[in-house]
Amino acid sequence: MSYLKHYPEIENEIIKCMKCGNCQAVCPLYKETKFEGSVARGKVKLAEAVLKGKLEYTEDLAKIFETCLTCKACSANCPCGVQPDKIVLAARAKLVKERGLPLIKDLIFKGLSKPSLFKTGMAIGSKTQGLFLKPTEKGMSPRYPVSGLQLRRVLPKLADRSFLSTAAEENKVDNPKKKVAFFTGCTTNFLYPQVGEALLKVMQRNNVEVVVPKDQHCCGVPVLLHGDVNTAAQMAKSHVDIFSKLDVDAIITVCGTCGESFSKHYPELLKDDAEYSAKANKLAEKTYDFAQFLVDILPIDRDVLKPVNKTVTYHVPCHIGRGMNAHQQQIELIKSIPGIKYIPLKQPDRCCGGAGSFSLTHYDLSYRVLKHKLADVKSTGADLLITGCGSCRMQLTDGIAQENLSQEVIHTVELLAKAY
């Protein structure tokens, strides 16, 4: 059974931890708070207490498990091979099961799980965002103090028209080398449709046929990260249905979290359902970040790339790097463009602190984590900050505006599209 649905299954992960504390060296939150509950080791101890029945749901306990970026830095640095991010997810799921979701989250997640409702809501949001967000030079800022949204925060404007509402479902090419399905993800669909357009352009130039299923929706990971396993499982099933029907060589994502939803989370969420489990595993095997697909599977013809004369640096999104292990391919693509001067960050894979909604619910702490990244970016003197994740992009764009830095933040595939 999945540890997400049956908490005792996580015991094998919990007992592996020898409490050495090596996670302290890499946990971005612990570095700020110096509090044992922030770091994996403390959370593993609490998860163990829950397992033994010594601790039950309290708001304080839930708060500790919420205070995690799920950046996986601890997993990567653990001498015992513990994956604390799994333990955190299991504990969040267990606490939601015991106590239920707070009303507001329940409403939001119900909305997310109903694609048509979510899409209608976002379309209305796109038209009405001006009522509560005011345009600034670099994006939008809240007009009033709204729960979780600091007034100074700079947010991306919701796209006038979502990517899915404008993109063609079938994007045929004359002599297709491969046929892929594109899972857009929410940030591409609603905030940065230019990323989706760049992907279509790059694929077309490489003779890859792209299907963009219109009925796709949110991958469900935001819901899963808040412990709402049942809703996440429904969303997983829906995507397994949509994408299993397609006769494609690969499923392509442009976001580490979305990629991981297909490659890791769906198989885990649907583990206990024989029919869906088999289908989910099949999809997982052929899910790639766009860069993995272009470098490892296709591979692209680098000789046709036109020069882009820019100095760039690259932030490794946690779920592109430690999640999908696709960062090397992204960096390779960047470096293969003529004219690009690539200056690596000192700590390219340190979390930016965004972590999806974490930057909304814990803005101050999230910003303290971000400041390290911004200092690193500043020292490179790059014109462009490249990254492979919409959520990191939101976070980085806000920080760059706050600190009056000059870098423009774009997605790796947008940079690549400039070279065609």
Binding site: C20, G21, Q24, A25, E36, K45, D60, P79
Partner: protein
């Protein structure tokens, strides 16, 4: 005089932001890196930001007769920071400033919450190093490391923490602040009180400032990996290297159980049929390094060993990968890892390794041994599962025998982890009644009410 009043007094003294009282938060301070220990909850955790704060905490603790447990990163392996009798956990992590790097006097002054690696990063631009390098160098604090007198991989040539502590500022159990030592190389004023508080495991006072000695970073180094078909040959090679007047910075050993586990886990290309591997590194001035490396190669060959010398940094990394993988590889085999640090004179290494193998067989346990062969500090690592009561009994018996054997060979209970709770019941084996009396008298003299880290090393 309730706990609640004590907590209120602490909140008043340090500010609410420096006092932790929520049940869930306290659970996170009920343990450290030591396996097989009780995990009692403290009543409160405080995070002082300066010496004056620490004085306030000590005075409140005295008034309410509440114990104080100083804690850095909680990465020790002796149960040294466990709040055995409840009370106040005093975390030094907010006192984390490097106060001074004094290159002229080859010294640095730090607060106790500074991470060892951060100090090394700060002195590197001056071409200096702070040599003690315990396995937890990236996480452990200077305060914890001084209090436990931690060692590391370079002990043979560079010594351990106590050889680098020049001065201390300490808050005593009566609330007074005392300073001992300083930046001078020579200092014979009164008793060697710097040494007394170093390695005292927080039982005699709370360290709030540390002056340490720095040394020039070695210019060059040569790394070698030697393999042996017989343990005796490895033991003789260790002796032979020293007999040839070479003191390597690193002289590490891994036994066959460890080699096989490492290879299985990390596939770093180790021969799994050999009985022992030595990782040897000499450092210093390039000409000397070259000459010393040559001597090492000859000694290994004379003792029927095979040796490989790293040609560049990349090859050095691959040799070190094996040693670095030792603990992780062993730790992944079973849920519970009991890591001991029994230490014997260098000349007895072979005998000790053979004894550990016999003990493992006798109690039917999986024990991998690796460690700092050059200074006789071995890490017999018992792989077990704390949930298996029957096996844990055998583990305890095996640990008893390992310590007995180490003492029999003229060694010591602990080379670098400290006594804490984990080994306090063995202490009289090594010190005898008279030695125990001295320890107790010192404790009684400096902490008559027993409020400083009670239950560690000796009980009052």
């Amino acid at each position: 005089m309730s706990k609640q009043q004590a907590i209120q007094a602490l909140e008043h003294a340090l500010g609410r932001e420096n006092v932790i009282t929520k049940h869930e938060d306290l659970v996170c301070y009920s343990f450290d890196a030591t396996p097989d220990m009780p995990n009692p909850l403290p009543d409160v955790v405080v995070t002082p930001t300066c010496t004056e704060d620490v004085v306030k905490v000590v005075n409140i603790a005295r008034e309410y007769k509440t114990p104080i447990y100083p804690r850095g990163s909680g990465t020790n392996l002796s149960g040294g920071t466990i709040p055995l009798h409840g009370g106040i956990v005093l975390s030094t992590l907010k006192m984390n400033k490097i106060l001074e790097v004094d290159a002229d006097n080859l010294a640095a002054v730090v607060q106790p919450g500074v991470i060892i690696q951060d100090l090394n990063n700060a002195v590197a631009p001056h071409g200096l190093i702070y040599p003690p390098d315990p396995g937890t160098v990236a996480t452990a604090t200077m305060g914890g490391s001084v209090s436990e007198c931690s060692g590391g991989l370079r002990g043979l040539k560079y010594g351990v923490t106590k050889h680098y502590v020049m001065g201390l500022k300490v808050v005593l159990a009566d609330g007074q602040v005392a300073r001992f030592g300083g930046k001078t190389v020579k200092n014979v004023t009164a008793y060697d009180l710097v040494k007394l508080f170093t390695g005292a495991e927080g039982t005699l006072g709370i360290i709030t400032e540390i002056t340490v000695k720095l040394i020039p970073a070695p210019e060059a180094r040569a790394s070698m990996l030697a393999t042996f078909d017989r343990l005796e040959d490895a033991g003789n090679a260790i002796k032979g290297i020293i007999a040839n007047k070479v003191i390597p910075a690193t002289l590490e050993i891994m036994d066959q159980a460890t080699i096989r586990t490492v290879e299985n886990f990390a596939q770093v290309g180790l021969p799994t049929d050999v009985r022992a591997i030595l990782l040897i590194e000499v450092d210093g001035i390039p000409e000397v390094v070259e000459k010393e490396a040559e001597k090492v190669v000859n000694v290994v060959k004379e003792n029927n060993g095979k040796i490989k010398k790293a040609k560049d940094d990349k090859e050095r990394e691959s040799l070190w990968a094996a040693r670095r993988a030792a603990l992780p590889a062993l730790a992944q085999l079973k849920p519970t890892t009991v890591l001991e640090d029994a230490t014997v004179p260098r000349s007895k290494i072979t005998e000790m390794l053979v004894a550990i193998e016999k003990i493992a067989a006798k109690y039917d346990l999986n024990i991998g041994t690796f460690g700092h062969a050059g200074d006789g500090n071995l890490h017999p690592t018992i792989l077990t599962d704390a949930r298996d009561k029957e096996e844990m009994e055998r583990v305890h018996k095996a640990v008893d025998e390992i310590f007995k054997k180490a003492l029999e060979l003229g060694g010591t209970l602990s080379g670098e982890h400290g006594i804490g709770m984990a080994k306090s019941h063995f202490l009289s084996w090594e010190l005898g009644q008279s030695g125990m009396d001295v320890v107790r008298k010192i404790k009684k003299a400096l902490d008559p009410e027993g409020i400083l880290n009670p239950g560690k090393m000796v009980s009052n």
